[in-house]
């Protein structure tokens, strides 16, 4: 079943999955993995943990740029469509006002910029997170189900340039993981 799988590099091993017993343990482990120089890894928690983005060394999201471009595109489409219709395609004199009466176009322009921004935010987020994903190698581990309940997980992917199975597992154990599992692709 290849439908809506994440696009991952080929290889027989996805990576390793480590479980931690508390948000604080996971937080410090993230700092350790970040400082060890890993780049292809992620944390999985049942609820947002304040400051985890900093502990993971995440850069600012590029999503705001998508939203800005889509909002400006929506605005441009709004004013462009109304302007083109009113001056070129079907010019009508309405209450003696000029054909290009921009104040009358602002409400629709505003709404379309909001619509563009909202669509950009939702679908841009989907695209950047590779959603919808119906299957992911991590789902093969039954312990990972607790990710949405009381489990705090950290996964490192095998195509990370620094990934070496033994040393990565050793690092995670040293950082306080209570369980480390290998995950097949």
């Amino acid at each position: 079943m290849a439908l809506l799988r994440p696009s991952l590099p080929p290889g027989e091993r996805f990576g390793v999955l480590a479980e931690f017993s508390s948000p604080a343990d996971l937080y410090h482990a993230c700092e350790g993995v970040r400082d060890a120089g890993y780049t292809r890894w992620d944390a999985h928690t049942p609820f947002p943990i304040h400051g985890l983005d900093r502990a993971m060394g995440l850069k600012a999201s590029r999503l705001p740029w998508v939203v800005l471009v889509m909002a400006l595109g929506g605005a441009l489409a709004g004013i462009g469509l109304q302007g083109w219709v009113s001056t070129t395609a079907y010019p009508l004199v309405i209450s003696g006002k000029p054909f290009f009466s921009w104040p009358a176009f602002i409400p629709v322009t505003f709404e379309l910029s909001v619509l563009g921004g909202a669509l950009g935010a939702v679908f841009g987020m989907f695209a950047m997170n590779q959603l919808p994903t119906w299957y992911h190698p991590l789902f093969s581990k039954s312990s990972f189900e607790r990710m949405s309940d009381d489990g705090f997980f950290l996964s490192i992917e095998s195509w990370d340039p620094r990934f070496e199975t033994d040393r990565t597992v050793e690092l995670l154990r040293r950082l306080g993981a209570k369980e480390v599992e290998l995950v097949a692709s």
Partner: protein, 410 residues
């Protein structure tokens, strides 16, 4: 909520109550004195110059009204901020709520700035002349509302309501500093909803009475909200500046997270002002009814036109794109710059509202415009500084204080 606050108490730094006051050597200790000097010099020069010749009277009172509106709007914004924090049971804002409480404490003092204007009613308000009313059917029709005695009674009600609310909410908060009584928080929350309703009505009618009726033929039902939106934006600009100072003063209490939220509110009210301004313009432009268009016709011809265009650029378009990125909202210097700019724009907005009724044919700057603005701002600063000095910088024993100190934007 209170249990939660206690539970997280162990994570926050231990703070001495005495360190949460304005330090004795801090330059803000001189704020009341500086404000007082500005007030005496600014208003003294204005009165001396404006009253010297009868020809300058009208200019004096119009300039004075602009300055008084500017000072008043900061206090009203502070009152609104405090009421909204209580009614929404906000946790993040506790460490900066005193900025609003200090701003609203200025209201009874700024009210005094409107007393001298009573001598200028004849110069300001066309409808206050009996002969003008007798010759004008529209003014006769409006005279049950627009007459001097009722106008004065209403003014008394507005300033009375605002002063009472500022006093009451300020006092509960100060009492909690010593007793730590959580019931005060509940009581303030219960009172905040009716207080917000009273606030909405008084601000709306105040704007109609003191600004809209300068042009007694014109009316716009959105006008009160327009004045409100600009006032609250100006308050958030002022609050940004004070919060930046408090971040330096109390780095473990006020931080970039709080400033980020204040900047978001500043941005929101900047947009809200533009929304109201454009809604007012659009409906009047579209309907094109003679009794409504006068206001804009006056402001869109001659030298008033560049002022109107400049206001929409400087009060909305430019700061909108400038304040949009998250980075700017967390950058102290950029934030201070845009806050000062927006305060200047709010003063221009007040000028734009009032002055065309005196200089119908075009903008005519007078030195009185500057002295009255400086003087009225001085009164505000003096009262703000006085309130800043007499109580701690944060509500010391508010049950949500720990939540506010550890607050983070997700």
């Amino acid at each position: 909520m209170i249990d939660h606050a206690h539970a997280s108490h162990s994570e926050i730094p231990v703070l001495q109550a005495s360190s949460l006051w304005l330090p004795r050597q801090h330059s803000w200790q001189r704020m009341p004195m500086v404000g007082l000097v500005l007030a005496v010099v600014g208003l003294g020069a204005s009165l001396a110059g404006g009253l010297a010749s009868p020809a300058a009277h009208s200019q004096l009172w119009h300039s004075w009204l602009v300055g008084a509106l500017f000072a008043l709007s900061l206090g009203l914004g502070g009152l609104f901020f405090v009421l909204v924090q209580h009614s929404t049971q906000a946790g993040w804002s506790v460490v900066v709520r005193r900025i609003g409480e200090n701003a609203m404490a200025t209201l009874p003092f700024v009210a005094l700035l409107f007393v001298p204007l009573l001598f200028g009613l004849g110069d300001l308000f066309h409808w206050s002349h009996a002969d003008a009313v007798a010759a004008d059917p529209l003014l006769q029709h409006k005279s049950p509302y627009l007459n001097v005695p009722f106008f004065l009674i209403r003014a008394l009600v507005y300033f009375g309501v605002w002063s009472f609310l500022a006093f009451w909410f300020g006092r509960q908060s100060r009492v909690q500093d010593t007793t730590g009584d959580h019931n005060l928080t509940r009581r303030m929350r219960r009172m905040s909803a009716p207080a917000l309703i009273a606030f909405a009505f008084t601000v709306t009618y105040f704007a109609i009475d003191w600004v809209m009726s300068l042009d007694p033929h014109w009316y716009s039902t959105i006008f009160g909200v327009y004045f409100f939106a600009g006032s609250v934006m100006a308050f958030f600009a002022f609050m940004t500046l004070i919060a930046l100072g408090q971040e330096k003063l109390l780095p473990r209490v006020v931080n970039g997270e709080h400033l980020h939220d204040i900047a978001k509110l500043l941005f929101a009210f900047l947009v809200f002002w533009a929304y109201m301004a454009f809604s007012q313009y659009l409906l009047i432009w579209y309907a094109n009814l003679p009794e409504e268009t006068g206001f804009f016709a006056q402001r869109l011809v001659g030298s008033w036109r560049p002022v109107s265009v400049g206001l929409s650029l400087g009060h909305f378009i430019v700061p909108f794109f400038f304040l949009l990125p998250r980075t700017v909202k967390r950058h102290p210097k950029a934030l201070a710059g845009v806050a000062i700019w927006l305060l200047a724009m709010h003063a221009l907005d007040m000028y734009w509202l009032v002055m065309p009724s005196l200089h119908a044919n075009g903008i005519a700057l007078s030195w009185l415009d500057f002295t009255t603005l400086i003087g009225c701002s001085g009164v505000f600063l003096a009262a703000f500084g006085w309130s800043l000095r007499r109580q701690a910088l944060v509500p010391l024993r508010d049950p949500r204080l720990p939540e506010s100190i550890t607050f983070e934007n997700v």
